[in-house]
């Protein structure tokens, strides 16, 4: 938690130190981790030279787990203890699962988090955040082994069309895996970065990203290192898995499989994937599935999957319209995601955009590579880079109003970070609490939108009805995550907010999960935390002192200067002691006293950005 060190944009405070950072593509079917080494971004392979890690986790009876190819091999042997496609469950509710339940080997139940829990054969329940966290941990370990050090931070990609709950669940999984998230990056934006930097390409780019379980379409303008997302759209529950499911459905029908036969359905999915992949290069395949033997042709599966592909093109049309871009203004179309290998997808996309889609960078790796480039910049390894990613919120944010209607507060495709304030009043005398229901989506009725969270404001000072003015501010940060602040403006009382995510873990639940994983080493933890707090205190002192020296006299009144100075001295003294809490408090006081100073320093540096360039312009 360093403070106030407003270094020049993009410049590291310690330029010579190369820090380890990685980009992680946490996919529905496969995951990858990449990093920048000697100026080149590349994905990291395992000991057998394999880059992709199947996003499959096998839980063993002894509490251990394995992730990847080995876990996948267990799928046919021990399906009840193997979890795949967990990304589909992130930030979702059990009711969303109807479509995929049939072909899932695992039993899904309602869990405490609101998300579906997966029940293993030994009746142990795993929530999606835990499972994703196990995948992330495995990927991070691979990077740490390859690079020979601890990762200082990671950029994790998410589908652009992921809603807030799905993003939060992803970030929670990273936290649980002990990873510092530098940024949640939208997958198509990551792909655009990889392409843009690799080829120096400029202009309007459409990124068509069809993964295992999600579909994104993003329209970006690339210009002088700025990647500006104009609009994004898609379907966070549509992907190559749906091709498999459609084919599997056909197989199950041909073989007259009983609808309760989980095992057979699971096998049909595996078979379907093989058929789909085989028909990428050949025109017909022989199929043996249970008692059924037959032949399937490419034309046949194209008929089966065409409606799914057409659905993606409808999203493309809508997103172009949102971006205010006509089809013939699109300069380049980039294909991302394993499912874009399907020939029919390429054909239809080319026909729609009237340009041949680009596949120069491996569609499986391009997202991880882009994320690695961004991670390298954010960790501070690249000093003179102008690269800037400007992204948008994919789905409108709204609140529930009278009659179950959703009132839009922040419309979709608004650039982030963004905030909107709304004013409410009380409708009963002496009312001290108020409930707010935040939803995400485009539809008019709350029931047709995704429920994100219910907030309860408490501690409103009692007044007559209609007298209180409660200002609620919805802040969406650069990760697309929402924070809600509430204040009664006539009295200045900050209302307390209790957040109950509709599909997610509360802060307490996460803390508990983290603690239980650390409980064995409690003594070590304390010592480590104290060490970290002391380092932090030293950093704060150094940073704030340097800032004061630089322009404290210029930007601060004498009293303000003195107040910061004295809180620094206090922190210096406290940090000699052994109380974690006291040091924490002292840091907080410095932070509070110096906040306005930091703000002025930043404003001065932002204003300079404008002046500095005006000369070039003339």
């Amino acid at each position: 938690m360093a403070l106030l060190q407003i270094s020049e944009p993009g410049q590291s405070t310690e330029p010579h130190q190369h820090k380890l950072a990685a980009g992680i593509d946490l996919g529905t079917t496969n995951s990858l981790i990449a990093t920048v080494r000697s100026g080149k971004a590349e994905t990291l392979a395992d000991a057998n030279g394999k880059h992709t890690v199947p996003s499959v986790v096998h839980y063993m009876s002894d509490d251990n787990f394995e992730v990847g190819h080995k876990a996948k091999e267990q799928q046919a042997i021990e399906p009840g203890n193997v979890i795949s496609s967990i990304k589909r469950l992130m930030g979702r509710g059990l009711a969303d699962m109807d479509k995929i339940k049939e072909f899932s080997a695992n039993q899904l139940i309602e869990s405490e988090s609101g998300m579906p829990g997966v029940v293993l054969d030994n009746q142990v329940e795993k929530n999606p955040v835990e499972v994703s966290s196990d995948i992330l941990r495995t990927l991070a370990e691979r990077a740490e082994q390859t690079l020979g050090g601890e990762l200082g931070g990671v950029v994790i990609t998410v589908p652009a069309y992921f809603d807030e709950a799905q993003r939060q669940a992803t970030k929670d999984a990273a936290q649980l895996a002990g990873l510092k998230v530098l940024r949640l990056l939208n997958e198509p934006t990551a792909a655009a970065v990889a392409y843009g930097l690799d080829t120096g390409s400029e202009g309007i780019h459409a990124i068509y990203d069809l993964g295992g379980g999600t579909f994104d379409i993003s329209i970006l303008r690339l210009q002088k290192g700025v990647f500006e997302v104009l609009a994004t759209g898609g379907d966070s529950a549509l992907g190559g898995d749906d091709f498999d499911r459609a084919i599997a459905h056909y197989l199950v029908e041909q073989a007259n499989v009983d609808s309760d036969d989980r095992r057979a359905h699971q096998l049909a999915m595996i078979k379907a994937r093989d058929i789909k992949e085989a028909l990428t290069d050949t025109d017909t395949v022989e199929v043996n599935f249970l008692d059924w033997n037959g032949q399937m042709s490419r034309t046949q599966i194209e008929e089966i999957i065409a409606p799914i592909v057409d659905k993606t093109l409808l999203s493309c049309r809508r997103t172009l319209k949102d971006a205010g871009i006509k089809v013939d203004e699109v300069d380049k179309v980039v294909m991302v995601g394993g499912s874009t290998r399907v020939p029919l997808v390429r054909e239809k996309v080319e026909k729609h955009f009237k340009v041949p889609p680009l596949t120069d960078i491996d569609p499986d790796k391009v997202v991880a590579i882009g994320a690695a480039i961004q991670a390298n910049v954010l960790i501070g390894n690249k000093s003179d880079d102008d690269m800037l990613l400007l992204d948008v919120i994919p789905l409108s944010l709204g609140v529930e109003t009278m009659g179950g209607l959703a009132e839009k507060i922040i419309p979709r495709n608004t650039p982030i970070p963004i905030a909107k304030a709304q004013e409410f009043t009380t409708f009963k005398d002496g009312q001290t609490a108020m409930a707010i229901h935040v939803v995400q989506g485009e539809r008019e009725l709350v029931d047709d939108c995704r429920s994100l969270a219910r907030f309860e404001l408490r501690g409103i000072p009692p007044m007559v009805a209609g007298a209180a003015r409660i200002k609620v501010t919805y802040q969406v940060d650069a990760d697309g995550l929402l924070q809600v602040l509430a204040e009664e403006t006539t009295s200045g009382v900050k209302a307390d907010i209790t957040v109950k995510p509709s599909y997610g873990l509360s802060d307490d639940q996460i803390t508990n999960m983290l603690q239980s994983s650390f409980s064995h080493a409690e003594g070590d933890m304390e010592a480590r935390m104290l060490r970290e707090q002391k380092v932090e205190a030293a950093r704060v002192i150094e940073a704030v002192s340097a800032a004061l020296n630089e322009n404290g006299k210029e930007l601060l009144s004498e009293e303000e200067y003195a107040a910061i100075q004295s809180s620094l001295e206090q922190l210096n003294q406290t940090s000699q002691g052994d109380s974690i809490e006291a040091i924490e408090n002292a840091i907080e006081i410095v932070e509070k006293n110096s906040n306005e100073f930091a703000s002025r320093r930043m404003d001065a540096s932002i204003a300079k950005a404008l002046v500095g360039h005006e000369v070039d312009e003339i």
Binding site: M1, A2, L3, L4, Q5, I6, S7, P9, G10, S12, T13, L182, R183, V226, E228, L314, R317, R318, K321, Q374, V377, L378, I379, G380, D386, L388, L389, L390, T414, P415, I416, P417, I418, A419, E442, Q475, D477, A478, R539, V540, A543, L555, E591, S594, N595, E596, A598, S599, R600, M602, D603, A604, S605, I606, A607, K608, A609, L610, H613, E614
Partner: protein, 177 residues
């Protein structure tokens, strides 16, 4: 000294004026964001990141206002004259109101018939009207002494047209669903 008080025009180094060069505005936003965006402060502490988020939010807000003719006009009146035109709406111009009513009826009919092409034609027509209204609003702002009543009416009219354009978008969205 506190920069939070700087108005949106000042943030972009502009004089308070209705005419804003959109290309320049957009390129200035990018320059400002090169310095303010949270990604540029990823190595700073939580306080610095929080500030960067707030500054960027304000720049994005300012940009959205200066980009949009109705919001820009309203903001300009607010900043220069302290007049809030965002709340009460009165246009005492029966001819204009009748015309708007007819346009809305046309929109409803087209929406019901799911006539996407018809909606596009209607949007083009209204867009032309909005452009005309915007030009006349611009002229009123050019005058030395602002005729405040005329400005208000002009802003309301433009707002009307933009609202209808917005509703056409929504109707088009529904057809795409």
């Amino acid at each position: 000294m506190a920069e939070a008080q700087r108005n949106y025009f000042e943030l972009f180094g502009l004089e308070p004026n209705f005419f804003v060069d959109q290309k320049e505005l957009s390129s200035k936003l990018k320059r400002l964001l090169q310095s303010a965006h949270p990604d540029r402060h990823a190595q700073g502490g939580s306080q610095q990141q929080m500030l960067a988020m707030q500054k960027t939010t304000r720049l994005n807000d300012a940009f959205a206002v200066l980009k949009h003719p109705v919001k820009r006009a309203q903001y300009l009146l607010q900043v220069v004259k302290g007049i809030d035109t965002t709340k009460d709406h009165t246009v005492n111009d029966p001819e204009f109101l009748m015309q708007q009513l007819e346009l809305r009826e046309e929109l409803d009919t087209l929406a019901q018939q799911k006539d996407a092409a018809g909606l596009m034609t209607l949007a083009d027509k209204i867009e032309a009207m909005a452009e005309e209204q915007e030009a006349s609003l611009g002229q009123r702002f050019e005058q030395e002494d602002w005729d405040l009543e005329a400005l208000k009416v002009s802003i309301y009219k433009l707002q009307f047209l933009h609202k209808t354009l917005n509703d056409i978008e929504l109707a088009e969205d529904k057809i795409l669903d």
